[in-house]
Symmetry: C2
């Protein structure tokens, strides 16, 4: 038997103890957004630092303006492979509405479902306590079995992910030397389905803009002024209507500069995933993909940039009717970015377009709501290739390379502040009910997740 085989056997033999430890962590009510649980958040950090130090990753609790960070290291010696920084978060969402929980959210238990499968039910069972423990249990098994980890490992566990991460930027900045590694491992995403592991390699970026179109200097009576006075609702509607052409493409000049076509082999993999497009849209009572007409829904949300009006308003919006021509009309508009699209170029193209549509006697103001580029891991990066291989081995199903339509801020921060790419491997499932009552984590996700990380650590140590 190889070292890895021994580690995997140890993981299997000690699964009950791994679950017990997860239960101990889950019982701590570390709800970061509610000040009433400030002490619980620190208790969770203390518990993690103590456990890690006990099994061989030297860890400490670090104070911030908010909830503390936990930082650990087992590194320093010259070892093969990259030095990795593992990231997870120990804080959880609030439990409201509490009456919809079948049991106490902080009394974790294993439930056997009608099909015989077992799930761990509790707040944080999946997001992110269950997920982060897959990595720590894999590291524990490696050290217990072999006396060491196969590569240098640092760990950063955050306590404010569910409440906007206010302390993260200052902490990364103040500790950039300590935390800068060769590669980040992030465990906060999902599998393709219960049998198919996945690596998230693409996260869309975001540009947010708010515009205010002003016509007259006051609201006008549409009887007195209607027809003669400019209506900013009409101006705004024309601006919004002109953002897409009849094929669903965004019309801003240069908008698609930097958008990258997926390689054929990736597209072929996606075809094999058998994404159920009609179920995806049918689940929200829609039928036809709305974006670029020559793309599938999966392409739309993973690989294509978008322009969405998230909010618009002008004039009278209450009950009944008021014959007003408003002075102002406003909209909040966001762009999801992919590939190498540059946020500031998109913003400038948008503003130039809007200005071109403003009548001479009207005006427009812009407010910025953030901008970040898309994140992607090169399909031929060595770490990605290794991870694909071992996940495929572990799950006996070809690992999917998937995208994520939203953004995970920490991944952008690791890239821009610490110069690290991230490998996003997680074992969550669509039905885990994270952020909702009766959150669960499949026991197969927990067990397979520990085994997967054990394999990843091994594989990364190879030449």
């Amino acid at each position: 038997m190889s070292r890895l085989d021994n580690v995997l056997a140890r993981i299997d033999a000690n699964l009950d103890k791994s679950v017990e430890r997860l239960f101990d962590l889950v019982k701590i009510k570390s709800i970061s957004t509610d000040p009433a649980f400030k002490g619980d958040c620190r208790a969770a950090a203390d518990w993690l630092a103590r456990e890690m130090s006990d099994f061989g990753i030297s860890a400490s609790v670090r104070d911030t303006e908010g909830h503390p960070m936990v930082v650990g290291h087992r590194a320093g010696e010259s070892k093969p492979g990259p030095h990795v920084l593992f990231y997870g978060h120990y804080d959880v969402q609030p439990v409201d509405p509490i009456e919809l929980w079948e049991e106490d959210p902080f009394a974790p238990r294993i439930v056997t479902r009608p099909d015989g499968s077992k799930v761990i039910v509790a707040r944080g069972a999946a997001d992110d306590k269950g997920q982060l423990m897959t990595f720590l249990e894999a590291a524990r098994a490696w050290i217990a079995e072999t006396g060491d980890l196969p590569i240098n490992v640092s760990v950063l566990l955050e306590g404010e992910e569910e409440s906007g991460s206010p302390s993260l930027h200052p902490f990364l900045e103040a500790n950039s030397e300590e935390l800068s590694c060769d590669l980040a491992l992030v465990c906060d995403t999902g599998m393709w389905d219960a049998k198919t592991p996945a690596i998230t390699t693409m996260l869309r970026g975001l540009v947010g803009e708010e515009i205010t179109v002003t016509a007259a200097d006051k609201d006008l009576h549409s009887g007195m002024f209607g027809g003669a006075a400019r209506n900013p609702n009409h101006v705004l509607a024309e601006i919004i209507a002109g953002l897409h052409d009849s094929e669903g493409r965004v019309t801003l000049p240069g908008f698609y500069d930097g958008v990258i076509e997926m390689p054929d082999d990736v597209k072929a993999l996606w075809d094999k995933l058998g994404f159920d497009h009609s179920a995806f849209l049918g689940g929200v009572d829609l039928a036809d993909p709305a974006g670029e007409s020559d793309r599938t829904a999966l392409e739309h949300i993973w690989t294509r940039p978008t322009c969405e009006v998230n909010g618009m308003w002008g004039g009278y919006t209450g009950a009944g009717f008021k014959t007003v021509i408003p002075s102002k009309a406003q909209a909040k508009i966001s762009f999801r970015l992919v590939g190498d699209q540059e946020p500031e170029k998109i913003r400038e193209a948008f503003r130039a377009y809007v200005r071109s549509k403003i009548p001479a006697d009207c005006s427009v103001e812009f407010a910025e709501h953030g901008g970040s580029p898309a994140i992607r891991l090169a399909f031929d990066s060595p770490a990605l290739t290794k991870a694909r291989k071992v996940l495929t081995d572990e799950w006996n199903a070809e690992a999917a390379l998937i995208g994520c339509g939203g953004s995970i801020p920490i991944v952008g921060d690791f890239k821009t502040m610490l110069g690290m790419d991230s490998l996003l491997i997680g074992f969550g499932l669509d039905d885990d009910q994270v952020h909702s009552p009766n959150e669960k984590y499949n026991l197969s996700s927990f067990h397979g997740g520990i085994r997967s990380w054990a394999r990843v650590l091994d594989e990364l140590s190879k030449g």
Copy 2:
């Protein structure tokens, strides 16, 4: 001297007494919208019925569910000319913000301005107590001087005009026989300017519609669904943008059916009025007329139909940013109608257009917010011709035939419920500050108004 000359001489000689009587009426705090002034409203009605009965129009106070009506008649004998129904309202607007009044709003006084002109300052001095008293004082002078009125006259004075006239429809319906005359005289409008009398011959109609566009059955995360899921804000913006063409014309098929071009002589009269287009729009910080590009602002608001989005909203409209794709987007849209445009045809054309723009997997709901046709008095109607002549005589300036971009509901009700056209003659001025602090009515408006009605009554009695 003719009978009319004697009546006019009496009016001049008794102007001080006419002003005193107006003061007595103005002192009564008949604010119809505030229940605290319920007794004052009745006191104003009582005062009017008593005064009218005293000088020779047999009048009574009629109870309604709200504030009472005052109805009077001096009719029945066979007389030449039409039987007219005079309409005015004795209720007034609230006085807030009271701190901006220079004196007690219900302590009427005459103020001499720097140019020597005199104005009556008080709440209701113009709207509509001063205006309705011009007619009653003219009738008083006729009866005092000649023992009778030259034509049959009925009077309807309302006490709820400033609070939505809830009792008017039931009252007109219950008393239609008593109130149906040959012609209504309404005194609640304005002059062209302080030297130029005006008759309002056109009032625009109105069709109100509210639409709700529904895409997904819930709000969606724009990261998870953006690009694939239909955004109802985009659908609504396209609908709104498509309502006008690049020349400002409304695009609905058949929209301009029934729109009437003004006769050349009327247009020529308007040209002579010297309307200051740049001051009209400049006063609200605009410069360029927004409607049909080949029309003047005066045409826009008096003679052209419009489509205005009075309100629109969808998605997140609070502070900050939320990357949501909303389930619904909504708009309140109104059409101002002119000539013979038919409200229900316009509504159907609009709904058909909107339905044609709704994607297959989205839906739209409509809610109706009223519909009324435009009102107009034929330019060659005998009563109009007579009124133009005598107003021109009285003011020594050619009487203007003007439009009104808004609607005056009573005029539509007289037409549809009682079958009467209305002659709208009023003596208000743009700077009267009706509904605002320091409301005033020029003494010249009051005096010239009384003399004008004396002439109108005389002229209408002529074959």
